[in-house]
């Protein structure tokens, strides 16, 4: 008789615990379900149109086409202008980006430090052959490749 009583109390406690767990789990699930804001992080898909903006900007396009790649200081200034141009348009502090300019036949390797990246790096490149106001065209030196690198900071 005593044994039966003990067993019944055990089941009762289990049922109580189960109800408690269900209540807690249910509350957590409902809370997370109703308050979650998911953002589709598609910043990599915006690279082609960001590149469009750079190459359609007559001033920046002209500067990129006319830059002397041997003059590192001049190249860095234009890269900085292109970076500032992109910063205004990307407008996200959790993203970092850099622009590389090189000869059309070169690889435009990434020179920036990306140790703060979350592990994913997106890149997009385009060749700008010339611009309307370009006075002289040299097939070896005038066309430039521009490459945008973008990554999320971890």
């Amino acid at each position: 008789m005593d044994n039966v009583k003990i067993k019944r109390k055990g089941w009762l406690r289990i049922v109580e615990a189960a109800i408690g767990v269900i209540l807690i789990l249910g509350s957590i699930l409902i809370y997370y379900q109703r308050n979650s804001i998911g953002a589709s992080d598609n910043f990599g898909e915006n690279l082609p149109i960001l590149m469009d903006e750079i190459v359609k900007n007559n001033t920046l396009r002209g500067e990129i086409v006319n830059v002397n790649l041997v003059n590192t200081g001049e190249v860095n200034i234009i890269k900085m202008k292109a970076n500032n141009f992109l910063s205004l348009r990307i407008g996200r502090y959790d993203l970092n980006h850099t622009v590389e300019i090189c000869n059309a036949a070169a690889d435009c390797k990434l020179m920036a430090d990306i140790s703060n990246s979350d592990g994913n790096l997106y890149g997009y490149e385009r060749i700008i052959s010339t611009n309307i106001n370009s006075s002289g065209f040299n097939p070896e030196t005038t066309p430039k490749k521009i490459k945008i690198y973008i990554w999320k900071i971890k």
Binding site: K7, G10, A39, S40, N42, E53
Partner: protein, 281 residues
């Protein structure tokens, strides 16, 4: 000893049964799966919204022959030493690199018949986006500029052809057009055709959205939304202009957002880039 062991087994069994029951319940009635907003859902709304407010835009680069290797057919004055120039060659007796072209046509007519469709409007801009006075009648296939309107007419212009914009400097006074086109007046460059979003259509969509989304599920369905879903959007231009279709979202909803950089044809014929932000809940 045996009794204590049995009670442990009972507890373990009870938990296994309990976990099994919970797992079965979640398998059939998973609240997260049933109501969650998949990423594809938002992308579908973005796709349909873009489709609803897009317009065809044609851009044509045209070189206006301010200087030409083609000798003038008459009129105007020729600098000393430059008489009877040979087309395309430097005249040794002339200080000019190229023989001077004396304009015989002040009115330039440009044939755009292959690219124009009904109801399309036209504007002409220079490389820096400044509009040039032009003359075009809707339904016509010739757009004209008049050299007399400018002290110096740019030698390269971009003709934009699309619906949904109003050119501020174009009139339909085709008396400013020449009686016939002189193809020496211009050289047609590249033609670039693409779909862009239209400010006019976005505003119209926003208006109908505000008026009907609470009562009319057709609009929601037209952009791929179910009856129990809602959405809003906002377009932010770099110059601070904004088209806002924002709505208040109750705290109890799951929200998913997407941001895309888009090209937008504005009312004045400018094509500007902007951020399109869509939220679905």
């Amino acid at each position: 000893m045996n009794k204590k062991g049995m009670s442990h087994i009972e507890v373990i069994m009870a938990f296994i049964i309990f976990l099994g029951a919970i797992a079965t319940m979640f398998y059939f009635f998973n609240p997260l799966k049933g109501n969650s907003l998949d990423e594809i859902y938002v992308e579908n709304v973005l796709y349909n919204l873009e489709k609803n407010v897009s317009v065809d835009l044609i851009e044509m680069g045209v070189k206006l022959n301010n200087t030409s290797t083609v000798p003038a057919s008459g009129g105007g004055s020729t600098p000393p030493g430059c008489q009877n120039p040979t087309p395309g060659e430097k005249n040794p007796n002339c200080n000019e690199t190229l023989p001077r072209f004396t304009y015989s046509n002040t009115k330039i007519g440009i044939n755009i018949s292959k690219n124009i469709a009904e109801n399309m409007n036209v504007s002409i801009k220079d490389l820096y986006g400044f509009e040039i006075i032009s003359h075009f009648a809707i339904g016509s296939d010739i757009v004209c500029v008049n050299r007399d309107d400018y002290y110096f007419l740019p030698d390269f212009v971009i003709i934009k052809i699309a619906e949904d914009f109003n050119s501020t400097l174009a009139d339909n006074n085709i008396t400013n057009c020449p009686s016939s086109i002189d193809y020496r007046d211009y050289t047609m460059g590249g033609i670039y055709s693409r779909k862009v979003l239209s400010e006019k259509r976005i505003l119209a969509f926003n208006s109908s959205y505000y008026n009907s989304i609470l009562y009319n599920n057709e609009l929601k369905e037209s952009i791929g939304l179910g009856k129990n879903r809602n959405f809003d959007f906002e377009v932010d231009f770099l110059n601070g202009d904004k088209i806002s279709g924002k709505r208040n979202i109750a705290k109890s909803f799951e929200v998913r957002a997407i941001n895309k950089r888009v090209e937008i044809l504005r009312y004045n014929g400018d094509v500007q880039f902007a951020n399109l932000n869509i939220r679905v809940w």
